[in-house]
């Protein structure tokens, strides 16, 4: 999508939005919607939930765009907003919904509801691979998960991940290293408990 708007400088668009031009805001949405949906999806799993959450991110962006001073790149600021919105969404839904996690033993229920889908009362059976990855990501500490999602889902290089997380490059390297080790362990554990039998 970015390729469609090579000549539009984000700051010019932001300035236009600040002066009341909503068409410029629509261009920003068109340019960044896919990236924001991808980031949100890394947190929530379900595509529909990610799309709804991304819409809320853009509405929040519109409300707070006057606060953007241009100290960082616009995309950095927007991605930070997407990360915060996603984390708040997860915290809220963790409290609100009962989540059936994969069983500790073979005979127990091994179904998991993603946050938005839990509303329907019908647990959704995901594929083992998807469920294993989702459970593993959910177990990661927030900062490891954020670094991993920005790097793997949005394919941001480490220095851009550091900018979004307002931290140093070495911290991001360390976070992603630990995230990978933990994911390897959690996926392996899942295999032991649910697949290997």
């Amino acid at each position: 999508m970015t390729k469609l708007f090579p000549d539009h400088d984000d700051r010019l668009l932001v300035d236009a939005v600040k002066s009341g031009n909503k068409d410029s805001f629509a261009l920003l949405v068109a340019k960044y919607r896919e990236s924001v949906i991808r980031i949100c999806r890394g947190y929530v799993g379900s595509y529909e939930d990610a799309e709804d959450l991304a819409q809320e991110v853009f509405v929040e962006l519109f409300r707070s765009i006057s606060k953007f001073r241009g100290d960082s790149r616009f995309s950095t600021w927007l991605y930070r907003l997407a990360v915060n919105k996603s984390l708040n969404y997860l915290r809220y839904h963790k409290k609100r919904f009962r989540v059936y996690r994969s069983s500790e033993s073979a005979g127990e229920e091994s179904l998991i509801n993603s946050p938005g889908e839990a509303e329907s009362d019908a647990p959704v059976v995901e594929s083992d691979h998807r469920r294993a990855l989702r459970e593993a990501l959910d177990k990661l500490p927030e900062n490891q998960r954020t670094a991993f999602i920005l790097n793997k889902y949005e394919e941001l290089p480490y220095n851009d991940v550091a900018a979004v997380m307002a931290t140093t490059l070495s911290t991001v390297e360390s976070l992603i290293f630990r995230a990978r080790q933990n994911l390897q362990k959690y996926l392996s554990d899942y295999y032991e408990k649910n697949i290997r039998g």
């Binding site: 709804d52 691979h129 390897q184």
Partner: protein, 138 residues
């Protein structure tokens, strides 16, 4: 390389960052050990989900939905809600058509057993003037 070493190096192997010697040892072990081979295959498929999830095709109404959200004091009508409201409207229309058809059938079968259609001129209506006269008298 034994099973324990294999388990420790799965991510590096899958990401292609294991050195040449390590990769050769890993592959030799995987060729002999069906359990490790199955484990690596499972984890590879788990990580492949990320590539699938990266594919994004936003709904054609995405921008419109955001723009209407910012115009209605931040309340975003999600794409699902939009779908539900359109589906509800369609359902109401269907129910109304169905009910209308059946009520009409009931009315003709009950009150007018001969099945004849009554036209306006067949029905006696009180002249509207009499209504005004009555009200004036009160």
């Amino acid at each position: 390389m034994n099973c324990k070493d294999t388990h420790r190096n799965i991510f590096d192997y899958l990401d292609g960052v294991l050195d040449e010697h390590g990769t050769t040892e890993m592959e030799s072990h995987l060729a002999l050990c069906s359990d490790c081979s199955s484990r690596v295959s499972f984890i590879r498929s788990g990580l492949d989900v990320i590539s699938v999830d990266r594919r994004v095709e936003p709904d054609s109404e995405f921008i419109g939905s955001v723009m209407s959200g910012i115009q209605s004091a931040g309340r975003v009508i999600s794409l699902r809600e939009r779908f539900i409201s359109v589906a509800s409207a369609a359902a109401i229309v269907l129910v109304a058509v169905f009910a209308g058809t059946n009520l009409g059938r009931l009315a003709t079968s009950g009150q007018n057993s001969e099945g004849t259609v009554l036209y306006a001129e067949d029905v006696y209506f009180e002249p509207i003037e009499s209504f005004f006269l009555l009200n004036d008298q009160e």
